[in-house]
């Protein structure tokens, strides 16, 4: 009998298929394990760290008599014009292949932040702090995806991890470097807007997009993904 035992061949085939099955299951398990957690780093706690209450730098009078000296400045309309810091023009997170054009945005009629319609662009909240400002939060937000254009520049934000490098380039070419401090998925209803948009306290970059469950009836996600990054160097 020169023909090999067919039973043995089938048995070998079965074993090979079982190995493939096991490998695929390991793959699924690995994928599940590699999913980013809801929170990375210190979550949102950087938002409220080192925020000093904003007090007008004035002298205080201890007694009933106003024993304080005031100083005057010219008050014609030109003299009170304020120079503002350059707006950011580019956002990069190399580890996540994020490289997006930034444009200055304000608020919509309903009071929420304007988000650039094209998801490949992100918006900087122009009324808040800029990267060059000595204090306050620079807030940059973008669509995670839109029906018209698909995934947005910030779709990978959900995978941001503590320690990742972030760069913001100002319109004047200055590069500001940051390091991710934390990430958190938080219900839009509980979004701490005052902490996110704080204009005082230590400088911080706050990047926001959407995430969590998508609710088709609302055409919106249930949650926001918020990443904090502190300046380095």
């Amino acid at each position: 009998m020169s023909t090999p035992d067919p039973g043995r061949r089938w048995k070998a085939g079965s074993a090979a298929a079982a190995v493939v099955c096991a490998a695929a299951l390991v793959g699924v398990g690995g994928w599940a394990l590699s999913r980013p957690a809801d929170t990375a780093g210190d979550g949102l706690s950087a938002l409220t760290q080192a925020t000093t209450p904003s007090t007008t730098p004035t002298s205080t009078a201890p007694g009933p008599t106003p024993s304080v000296r005031a100083t005057a400045r010219p008050a014609d309309p030109q003299a009170v014009r304020v120079e503002s810091s350059p707006p950011p023009s580019r956002l990069r997170i190399p580890d996540l292949d994020v490289d997006a054009t930034v444009r200055a945005v304000g608020v919509q009629a309903d009071g929420s932040m304007v988000i650039p319609a094209a998801p490949t662009r992100v918006g900087w909240y122009r009324y808040g702090s800029a990267p060059a400002d000595p204090e306050g939060h620079t807030v940059i937000a973008g669509h995670v995806a839109t029906i018209e254009d698909g995934p947005g520049a910030l779709a990978p934000l959900v995978e941001a991890e503590e320690g990742m490098d972030v760069e913001v380039v100002d319109a004047d070419g200055t590069v500001h470097r940051y390091e991710v401090r934390g990430r958190e998925r938080i219900s839009k209803k509980r979004l701490p807007t005052d902490a996110i948009f704080a204009r005082d306290g230590a400088p911080l970059l706050v990047i926001v997009t959407c995430g969590g469950e998508y609710i088709p009836e609302l055409g919106a996600h249930r949650d926001n993904i918020v990443v904090t990054a502190a300046p380095v160097g």
């Binding site: 089938w10 085939g13 009170v80 204009r199």
Partner: protein, 275 residues
């Protein structure tokens, strides 16, 4: 010559019910700014808790027309304020005097030295509205503190506040931006001041004073700003569609199922062949 004008706070713009005759601790100080809108008069300003003024009570020295002080924190209480020509002995008669100016604890007040409609120097305290502005908006306040009749305030050539008289104010919250502001006599659109570009910054109250004298042809604008009134946006609506699902887990699960079926099938076949 020097005239003594006494302004009782009861008749002035400050009419809040709080009156602390003994000022409390600095916990809830009032914030006070002084605005100088009397033309051609450089002055020293004194503040006192009683009727006499001494060198220690000097609040402001060599205060020039068209300037505004920074905010000074004062304990709530009742103050007497006096304006002397720069360098004059405060024991003498002041050029302008305001007695019993109530400075409520925690209030934000602008005390303006200016001319009344007839051209007499007076001190008028204004209580500033420091309630929060909506996200994206700033507050524009216009105060008539000039020796001039009723005026209209024009923005971009169109009247926005009409019939404003000395010493009154009008205000509106506007989208942040630059307003081309001008002042015209009531019922006219021919500017007597301006037009001048006024920045209405987001979260800031921009207070514009029309000061000077129409008769002397020295009407001008002075601007004071109060920042920190901003509100946060209500939310970040950053997604209108679902991110396409990652195909990897579905493909792997399919492969695992197919392989499991194959393994089972081939195993059965092996047993049958052997039998």
């Amino acid at each position: 010559m020097r005239r003594v004008i006494a302004v009782s706070a009861a008749t002035a713009a400050v009419a809040l019910p709080l009156a602390f005759t003994t000022p409390a601790a600095a916990a809830d100080d009032a914030s006070v700014v002084v605005v100088h809108g009397v033309p051609d008069l450089t002055v020293d300003v004194y503040g006192s808790a009683d009727a006499s003024y001494s060198a220690e009570e000097l609040l402001l020295e060599d205060f020039e027309p068209g300037t505004v002080t920074g905010a000074v924190a004062l304990p709530g209480g009742t103050y007497n304020l006096a304006v002397f020509p720069a360098g004059d002995d405060p024991a003498g008669d002041p050029a302008i005097e305001a007695n019993d100016v109530e400075v409520p604890a925690g209030a934000n007040i602008s005390v303006v030295a200016h001319l009344d409609e007839g051209g007499t120097p007076v001190l008028t305290p204004f209580v500033n509205d420091v309630s929060p502005t909506a996200a994206g908006e700033g507050r524009l306040v216009v105060r008539h503190t000039a020796a001039a009749p009723a005026v209209d305030i024009l923005a971009g050539g169109e009247p926005v506040f009409t019939g404003l008289t000395n010493p009154n104010e009008e205000s509106a919250d506007l989208p942040a931006g630059t307003v081309s502001a001008a002042v015209a006599l009531a019922g006219t659109t021919d500017p007597v001041i301006g037009p001048a570009d006024v920045d209405v910054q987001e979260g800031v109250s921009t207070i514009v004073y029309a000061w000077g004298s129409a008769d002397d042809g020295n009407l001008a604008l002075a601007v004071q700003t109060i920042d920190g009134l901003h509100s946060s946006p209500s939310g970040v609506p950053s997604g209108t569609a679902e991110v396409p699902a990652d195909p990897a887990p579905l493909a792997l699960t399919g492969l695992a199922l197919a392989a499991a079926l194959a393994a089972g099938g081939m195993g059965l076949r092996a047993r049958r062949v052997r039998a």
